[in-house]
Symmetry: C2
Subunit: 246 residues, 2 copies
DNA sequence: AATCATTTGTCCGTATGTATT
DNA sequence: GAATACATACGGACAAATGAT
C-alpha cells in the first residue's frame, strides 16, 4: 500500500523545524496542483488538526508562504493560493483589458475618483501651457477579482470633458477614449521604478505590509503622436511581471 | 539685513513637530542645492547644536529623509545626500558601463564569486541540453562608489572557460565578452519585477531594511541571435529608474 | 436589522531544546 | 559545566472581519 503523503505526520526531532516541514508540504501541494491557483486553503484549525501541531505553528508556516507570495490570507475569510504573476507587456500598445484577457483572466476597472486640478509636472509632460486645468482620474484595476494595479491619470480637461462618465460606465480607459473619438493611442515614453507600498496602496491592492509596488510612469499619445494622457500606475509587484520586447 | 534662514531657529509650539520642521528644512536645503548629491550632511551632533534640539529629534528627522530616499545613513561615517535616480535604458543594447557613463557617473564592477553549477532553469533558457555545466558569476556594480545593482549571470562553461579572469580584471561583462570574441550582443527578452530587498541584498547594496529591489531578468544573445547569457539583476530601486523606449 | 458561527490577527503566557559565551 | 540568549512549540483568550441565517 502506498504511503499517503497527506497523512504523513510531521517529523519531530528531525532537525527540521515543524513550521518549515509544514510550509514545504503545503508549498509542494500548491506546485503539484493539489491546491490550484485562487483556491482556498484549509482553515488554520483544519491544518492544525491535520498536522497535529499547534495553531501558531501552522500560522508560522502560512506566514512563510505569504512572505514568498504563494498564498494570501484574508481576515475573516481564509487563506488563498495566489495566481502566478501575470505577464504584462510593456510595448507600444497600452491596453489593460487586452493584456489581462490575453493571460486568460477577467479584467475589471473601478473608478475611485475624479478631480479637476492644476499640476505643473503632468501639464509639462502633456506639452500644455502652465496652469492648464487637468482632469485627474484615480482607478483600481483587477484581474479575476484580485486587485492588480492602482493608477492615476491626467488628461487635458477641455479636450476630455465628461470622460469620467464613460470611465464610470465601462471601467476602461480605452473605451472612454473611443467615446471621445480616439481609436488608437500608444506609449511615448515609460519609466519604471519600485518602492514599498504605502498604507493606502496596501489597503486598495490588498497587500500585506512591506510588499513592493512597481511604479510605471508613462506618457501616451494619440495617432498623431500628441500626448493625451500622463499615467502613473502602481502594480502589486507580487502579481505581475512586466515584459519588455526588444 | 536679510534673514539668515539657516540660522532661523525651530518654532516650538507652532503646531508642527520639531522633527518635521527640521526634516523640511534639510529637505529644502537638499533640493536648493545647499547640500549637493553625494555630499555629506553635517553630523547628528552638529545638527543637534544648530537646531538647538535633542539628538533624538535630529535622528527622527533624518530617518524621515532616509525613508523618502533622500539621504543615506552609513553607520560610523555619517549621512549622505542620495544621487538622483539614474535613468537606466532597457533597450536592445545592454551595457552597464555605457549606461552609467551616459549619466555622467563613474561605473565600477566587482566580482563577488564564480562557481560551476548545474541548474535546470538557466540551462533551458540558454537553449542547452539538460545538465550542461554552467559558469555562475556573482557581481556588484556601482556608480560613483554607490552600489547600484547586484547581478547573477549564467554562461555555458565550455564556451566561456576563463571568463572570470577577464571579469576580475576589468569588472565589465562587455569587456570579458570581447576577450572571448563576442563584439556585439543584445537583449532577447526581459522581464521586470520587484520585491523587498532580502538581508544579503541590504548588505551588499547598502540599503536600509524594507526598501525594494527591481529585478530585471534577461536573456542576452550574440550577433547571430544565439543566447549566451542569462542574467538576473537586482537594482536598488531608490537609485535607478528603468527607461523603456517604445 | 440583528445575531451567530467561522476564520484570521494579536496578545498574554509557559516550557523546552539548542547554540553561544 | 554554568549562565545566557534565542528559536521553537504549545496553550489560551480575545479582537476583528466576513458571510450566512
Amino acid at each position: 500500500m502506498p504511503i499517503d503523503l497527506d497523512r504523513l505526520p510531521v517529523d519531530r526531532g528531525s532537525g527540521v523545524s515543524l513550521w518549515r516541514q509544514i510550509a514545504e508540504r503545503i508549498e509542494s501541494e500548491i506546485t503539484t496542483g493539489a491546491f490550484p491557483p485562487s483556491s482556498q486553503l484549509p482553515s488554520e484549525s483544519e491544518l492544525t488538526e491535520r498536522f497535529g501541531v499547534n495553531r501558531h505553528t501552522v500560522r508560522r508556516a502560512l506566514a512563510v508562504l505569504a512572505e514568498k507570495g504563494l498564498v494570501r490570507a484574508v481576515k475573516g475569510r481564509g487563506s488563498f493560493v495566489e495566481e502566478a504573476p501575470l505577464p504584462y507587456p510593456i510595448g507600444r500598445r497600452v491596453r489593460f483589458s487586452e493584456n489581462v484577457m490575453a493571460a486568460g483572466r477577467a479584467p475589471r476597472g473601478r473608478l475611485l475618483g475624479v478631480a479637476t486640478v492644476v499640476d505643473a509636472e503632468p501639464t509639462r509632460r502633456l506639452g500644455l501651457p502652465p496652469r492648464t486645468p487637468l482632469l485627474r482620474i484615480e482607478m483600481v484595476s483587477s484581474a479575476n477579482g484580485v486587485p492588480l494595479s492602482r493608477s492615476t491619470s491626467w488628461f487635458e480637461k477641455a479636450r476630455f470633458e465628461g470622460l469620467e462618465a464613460e470611465l464610470q460606465r465601462t471601467g476602461s480607459v480605452s473605451r472612454a477614449f473611443a467615446a471621445h473619438g480616439i481609436a488608437d493611442y500608444a506609449r511615448l515614453e515609460t519609466a519604471i521604478s519600485a518602492r514599498p507600498a504605502d498604507p493606502a496602496e496596501q489597503d486598495l491592492l490588498e497587500l500585506p505590509p512591506g510588499r513592493a509596488v512597481l511604479v510605471v510612469d508613462a506618457v501616451n499619445a494619440d495617432a498623431e503622436g500628441r500626448p493625451i494622457q500622463v499615467q502613473r500606475t502602481r502594480f502589486a509587484a507580487d502579481r505581475v511581471h512586466l515584459v519588455v520586447k526588444s
